[in-house]
């Protein structure tokens, strides 16, 4: 079995530089000291960039650092320049799931999440949903399905499109029916939803086999090789953003596109968003766009009363949707992503037909020459 909790290398990345720096300062060395210091710090930076992955997977980590101290290759990341990048490069197989989940890359937690802030994590990934800018185009849903190969019928992200407000009977109203005329006072409201990567994730705590875990940088992930598919985490998620994957037969959910994030890219839904309604970034970095947005605008989060401390923030969130105990959400009309398996869908005239997923042995046979 792989060891899961490696809390030993939490503070190792900071200690060498600071210790040497204080040593040199106390010794009072002048120019020569700074030279030596710069040499040491260069090495130390290289050490920082290099992950502590040695024994468990046998990979050696070669990061190309030029003479001009410019990091090249996939590690380069303009967006987060000034902050240390996650330790991954393409040569080390960042698309290899096992390597991504290698606990030596980042410490992971199954229970004591309160320890995470104490360890001074480099990053804390979060997302801001700017509801002013979301047009409900569903591009993010398609991009996510394409990027992560999500099977038919299940979603890692969805965008609820609903009409909020009321239609009241009024004289000379806009809507005229046989029964009378009505005055609408409604507006379209879009609610993009993903896994909230909670700071106190209930899904992680209920897992009987420790298959799901929280990384030091805040991303909640599932080890698909350990998950037994019991569905407890799906029940425990208050946001209904977990599902049972019918192909790989495990629980599944949004990963914040961890393979892209570790490679220095943004999640697929963020890059595909036409209105920049989804903003991804580092909540630890006060200059990052997410931190700036959270600082400048009032934000809401979904179901805070559940005590999960979600890390997805909404700007201009309809107050009815914040609380879990608010029944007003029931009176909203879901227009696009209504659950096809609900009574409301039936009442709106839809027929409940459950499509089956067909697995063809040779799906592209017709195109063969």
């Amino acid at each position: 079995m792989r060891k899961r909790t490696t809390n030993e290398n939490l503070d190792t990345d900071e200690k060498p530089t600071s210790a040497r720096r204080t040593l040199l300062k106390t010794l009072g060395l002048g120019v020569s000291g700074t030279l030596i210091f710069s040499l040491f710090t260069k090495n130390a930076q290289a050490q920082d960039q290099a992950p502590q992955k040695t024994a468990s997977n046998g990979h050696t980590n070669d990061i190309n650092i030029d003479s001009s101290d410019q990091i090249t290759g996939p590690l380069q990341n303009h967006r987060w320049m000034g902050w240390e990048n996650p330790v991954f490069d393409a040569n080390d197989g960042w698309n290899d799931w096992k390597t991504i989940l290698n606990p030596n890359n980042l410490p992971i937690w199954h229970d004591s999440f309160s320890e995470i802030p104490k360890t001074h994590p480099k990053h804390k990934w979060g997302m801001v949903m700017d509801n002013r800018k979301c047009v409900g185009c569903q591009a993010c849903v398609v991009a996510c399905k394409s990027e992560n190969n999500v099977p038919l019928g299940v979603f890692r992200t969805i965008v609820d499109v609903m009409e909020v407000g009321s239609i009241k009977p009024a004289q000379n109203g806009m809507i005229v029916t046989e029964e009378g005329s009505y005055e609408p006072n409604v507006k379209k409201f879009m609610l993009p939803r993903i896994c909230n990567h909670c700071d106190e994730p209930p899904c992680v705590q209920v897992c009987p086999v420790k298959a799901t875990f929280k990384r030091q940088d805040g991303i909640v992930l599932i080890d698909y090789e350990v998950c037994i598919g019991c569905g407890t985490c799906v029940q425990a998620c208050p946001y209904d953003m977990r599902f049972l994957n019918p192909i790989q037969m495990t629980a599944d959910k949004c990963t914040f596109c961890v393979h892209r994030v570790d490679a220095g890219l943004e999640p697929a839904c963020v890059t595909s968003c036409v209105g920049r309604a989804r903003v991804f970034g580092d909540l630890n970095d006060p200059n990052s766009e997410v931190s700036q947005l959270i600082a400048q605008f009032p934000t809401g989060r979904l179901m805070i009363s559940q005590g999960t401390d979600p890390q997805v923030f909404y700007i201009n969130l309809n107050g009815n949707l914040e609380g879990t105990t608010s029944i007003d959400k029931v009176f909203m009309e879901f227009t696009y992503t209504i659950g096809f398996n609900t009574t409301d869908y039936k009442q709106l005239g839809g027929e409940v037909e459950l499509p089956t997923i067909e697995e063809k042995k040779n799906p592209f046979k017709q195109f063969a020459v």
Binding site: D111, V206, P208, I228, G231, C237, L244, T342
Partner: protein, 390 residues
């Protein structure tokens, strides 16, 4: 379940309904068994071994139902043992308590049937050889050894009753502790599970007692006094269960609960709701009140035929209680609107066929164990007991 999985779907299907039902039989049957060993209810002596056999069969089966529902059952056994998540996960607790309980039941069965096995080992043949093996080299039948057995059974029962309650209580905890499901987060959930487990366990013991001893037993017959005592015990269990149902009903009043749970009750359980008939008619009326009214008459309690029907009704009602809890809780969506529609498929992991298969497996297990240890044997002591009672 996997076919057509849309935005909100019941994730736990029939196997998870069957799982608390069967493990409830286990816990209830063990309580009946322990009443004889622990508290010296002599009237329950004739059914003690039967109850132990039912309990043993059901605890073996109890592991299968959640395994059927997991999508990776081959992994589950190993991972649950090796990577437990003891303090938090109810399913992680499952494997610990289940293992302890199986070990306990092995001891229980050994001491319960040791004297029988010694006698049967004299017959020879395959069954004799098995019985000889099952004595594990203690062929004594002296009074002292029997006394030792009784002492051991007393200790086992003393450990087993809390363990059985824990086993079934944590199943209530699995549901009651999940805060995301508004209709599950009830403080009486655990107690309701335990109480209805006792009710169903008693009914199952009555069922197998009447069927087994009227048709398959050559030496003993159904003791009407025992049947009467079982009936009286069931009355008290039903009263407790009804009380908790009233508490749950009060819990769904607007003043005492959150908006979501209140509306959920209206949408799912109250009149016009998705499971209103299941809840009010099947679970409460047919499952509890009708049997209670009939059981109040002594003539009914001593009638084999009527008791058989009552046992079936009670088990049906308890089955409905499990169904209403497990499925009903999932019919209230977490974040979208309306109620979720549940269709139990015929095929698949949590299909109706796998449910039927689980029940059949339970019957097979019970009959194999009964063949192994004997329906009624213990020819001497038990017939003496029944004579004494007469």
């Amino acid at each position: 379940m996997l076919e057509g999985q849309f935005l909100e779907t019941p994730i736990w299907g029939l196997p998870i309904v069957i799982y608390p039902f069967l493990s409830g039989l286990m816990a209830g049957a063990f309580v009946i068994d322990s009443l004889s060993h622990l508290f010296g209810f002599k009237k329950f002596d004739p059914v003690a071994k039967l109850a132990a056999t039912v309990s043993f069969a059901m605890v073996l089966l109890a592991a299968f139902a959640p395994l059927v529902d997991t999508l990776q059952p081959s992994r589950a056994v190993w991972e649950l043992y090796v990577r437990d998540h003891f303090p938090y996960s109810p399913l992680g607790v499952f494997i610990v308590i289940w293992t302890l309980y199986v070990i306990l039941m092995l001891f229980e069965m050994y001491f319960d049937y040791r004297v029988d096995n010694v006698e049967r080992s004299k017959q020879g043949g395959l069954r004799g050889a098995i019985s000889k093996f099952l004595t594990f080299g203690r062929p004594e039948v002296s009074q002292e050894s029997i006394k030792k057995d009784k002492k051991a059974l007393f200790i086992i029962s003393a450990i087993g009753v809390p363990l059985a309650f824990a086993f079934h209580g944590y199943i209530g905890f699995v549901f009651g502790a999940i805060k995301a499901r508004a209709l599950w987060t009830s403080s009486v959930m655990m107690l309701m599970f335990i109480t209805s487990a006792i009710v169903s366990g008693a009914a199952t013991v009555i069922f197998f007692y009447i069927i087994g001893y009227s048709f398959y037993s050559k030496k003993n017959k159904v003791n009407l006094e025992t049947l009467n005592a079982l009936g009286i015990f069931t009355i008290f269990a039903i009263l407790l269960d009804l009380f908790l149902d009233v508490v749950e009903k009060l819990y769904s009043v607007r003043a005492y609960t959150g908006a979501e749970e209140f509306h959920g009750w209206e949408l799912v359980y109250n009149w016009g709701g998705a499971l209103s008939v299941n809840y009010h008619i099947y679970q409460i009326l047919i499952g509890l009140i009708v049997p209670l009214v009939f059981l109040l008459f002594k003539k009914v309690r001593q009638s084999k035929f009527l008791m058989l029907i009552i046992a079936i009704l009670i088990n049906f009602g308890v089955w409905e209680m499990r169904y209403d809890t497990v499925i009903g809780g999932q019919l209230l969506p977490k974040i979208s609107q309306g109620t979720v529609i549940f269709h139990a498929p015929w095929l698949g992991f949590d299909g109706i066929l796998s449910g039927i298969g689980l029940f059949c497996l339970g019957l097979v297990l019970f009959f194999v164990l009964s063949w192994l240890f004997g329906w009624e044997d213990n020819p001497k002591s038990q017939s003496l007991d029944s004579n004494e009672n007469k």
